[in-house]
């Protein structure tokens, strides 16, 4: 068999509640600074705890220096992160370049403004609806960077951007593309906030991932993208690999539309197959960035899945959801960036708001930042509605 092509990560871009850009995010992670707080947005419920990006649409527009037009917050956030990751690269005749974004609600932030006025019988501008659909959201970002050809959008709820990253890796490995920009974005919207409230899993206080007293999640917003390149591409672009993407898998839980199975079947399959793809034994994983939303159901099911794979030799793990909130389709890309930073800088990220381990499993996450660690491989989990479970493995360059 031909040895699998090496896939290098050569660029990162991110905007989240804890900052705009990789450096701001890194600093907040190190300082243990959560971005979750009450909002003053006119369109969101007052006093609700959310992980909002601190810039308004208007500020984002100015920052991006865009021509007049219709933009969803989704596209604006996406462009901020995608531009940072892409870093002004140009097209090259012998490099096949692609773009894969992920979003769960597309331009819902604009649609709900429109629909509110529409229901009130006010004069409405139908043109603002062009930003609604998810595919359009990504086309705007692709156009902003001058990317053409293979441009695609994945939508699998909370695991969406893990699947976008994974699809990019598969296209590279099968020689269909040489480099690909992959990631995801979701904005805060009344639609998703009220949705998770209707499921009674929205914590009105700070979310407490992996804590026995957890009651639910806080939603957040943001975007993250990363550049994946094969060896031929790196030779031409001359960009330096930060680390490699070595493992990926997606599996269906096939248990329930919203709840995860008590035996963690889908999650166990995803983690196991991702490690297998990376050629790693479980004990070779240095750190796990868990999905850890802070809901009763997810954290227990994920704990069981990790025990299924790692037994009593569970690597250090933490959820970073208490920093950013749950950013839905952006979550896996944002946490992918954090996993890459953990690997690059040799640090274990703390799980904020934790005090008591789950009664059922007794698992305790990392609660204090640990630096100077020698990490070789990091596992990142993302699980979504419809039993959509994905895991990614990032490994250091030499590994």
């Amino acid at each position: 068999m031909v040895p699998a092509a090496k896939i290098s990560i050569t660029g990162l871009g991110i905007v989240s509640a804890i900052g705009c850009g990789v450096e701001e995010n890194r600093r907040a992670l190190v300082e243990g600074q959560s971005g979750i707080g009450t909002t003053y947005s006119e369109t969101l419920p007052e006093g609700l705890l959310v992980g909002a990006v601190k810039q308004s649409d208007q500020e984002l527009l100015q920052r991006l220096r865009l021509p007049n037009g219709y933009y969803s917050r989704t596209s604006l956030l996406g462009m901020v992160a995608a531009r940072e990751a892409w870093d002004g690269q140009s097209s090259h005749p012998s490099l096949r370049t692609g773009f894969i974004g992920a979003t769960s609600v597309g331009g819902m932030d604009q649609t709900e403004q429109f629909y509110k006025q529409y229901l009130q019988g006010r004069k409405v501008d139908f043109k603002s609806l062009i930003t609604h659909d998810s595919g359009y959201t990504m086309e705007v970002i692709a156009q902003d960077l001058g990317l053409t050809g293979y441009v695609n959008t994945i939508s699998t709820a909370c695991s969406s951007s893990a699947n976008a990253i994974m699809l990019g890796a598969r296209l590279l490995q099968q020689g269909r593309l040489d480099r690909v920009l992959v990631g995801g974005v979701d904005p805060l919207s009344m639609f998703t906030i009220q949705g998770f409230r209707s499921l009674m899993i929205y914590d009105e206080a700070w979310c407490k991932p992996f804590d026995d007293a957890r009651v639910g999640l806080n939603l957040g917003e943001g975007a993250a993208f990363m550049v994946l390149e094969n060896e031929k591409s790196i030779e031409i672009t001359g960009r330096l690999p930060i680390c490699r993407l070595t493992g990926w898998a997606n599996a269906a839980d096939a248990y329930h539309q919203t709840a995860s199975s008590p035996d963690g079947k889908g999650a166990t399959l995803a983690i196991g197959q991702a490690l297998q793809k990376a050629g790693l034994f479980p004990e070779e994983v240095s750190y796990i960035n868990v999905h850890g939303t802070g809901t009763k159901n997810n954290d227990l099911s994920e704990s069981i899945a990790m025990q299924n794979i790692f037994g009593d030799k569970l690597p250090p793990f933490s959820s970073t959801k208490a920093y950013t909130g749950h950013t839905l389709a952006a979550a896996a890309a944002i946490e992918g960036v954090y996993s890459v930073l953990a690997l690059r800088d040799g640090m274990l990220l703390p799980n904020l708001n934790f005090s008591t381990p789950l009664a059922e499993t007794g698992l305790s996450p990392i609660v204090e930042l640990q630096t100077g660690q020698d990490l070789t491989s990091v596992l990142s989990n993302s699980f979504g509605f419809g039993g959509n479970n994905s895991s990614l493995v990032f490994s250091s360059n030499g590994y």
Partner: protein
């Protein structure tokens, strides 16, 4: 009390869109969540909470509380009576 139960059965069928179930199919003590009962699931439990708020003005803040109250039409009716009497 019997009237509440009859009303409840109608409301449950409507709220949960139980297309193939008639009021007569639900006994007062039919277990709503058992597989040999109505085989409802966690989404239905949330819909029942909505039902209580919509028709009876009862707010169930803790979903765990619903679990005991939603065993059967009997227990639901008793819960409604207890809450509305408060």
């Amino acid at each position: 009390m019997d009237q509440i139960k009859q009303e409840l059965k109608k409301q449950i069928i409507e709220q949960l869109n139980l297309e193939d179930v008639a009021v007569e199919d639900i006994a007062d003590d039919t277990l709503l969540f058992a597989s040999d009962g109505l085989a409802l699931d966690s989404i239905d439990a949330l819909e029942l909470i909505v039902l209580l708020e919509k028709f009876y003005g009862i707010q169930v803040v803790n979903p765990e509380e619903g679990k005991t109250a939603f065993k059967s039409v009997d227990t639901m009716a008793a819960y409604i009576q207890q809450k509305t009497a408060q």
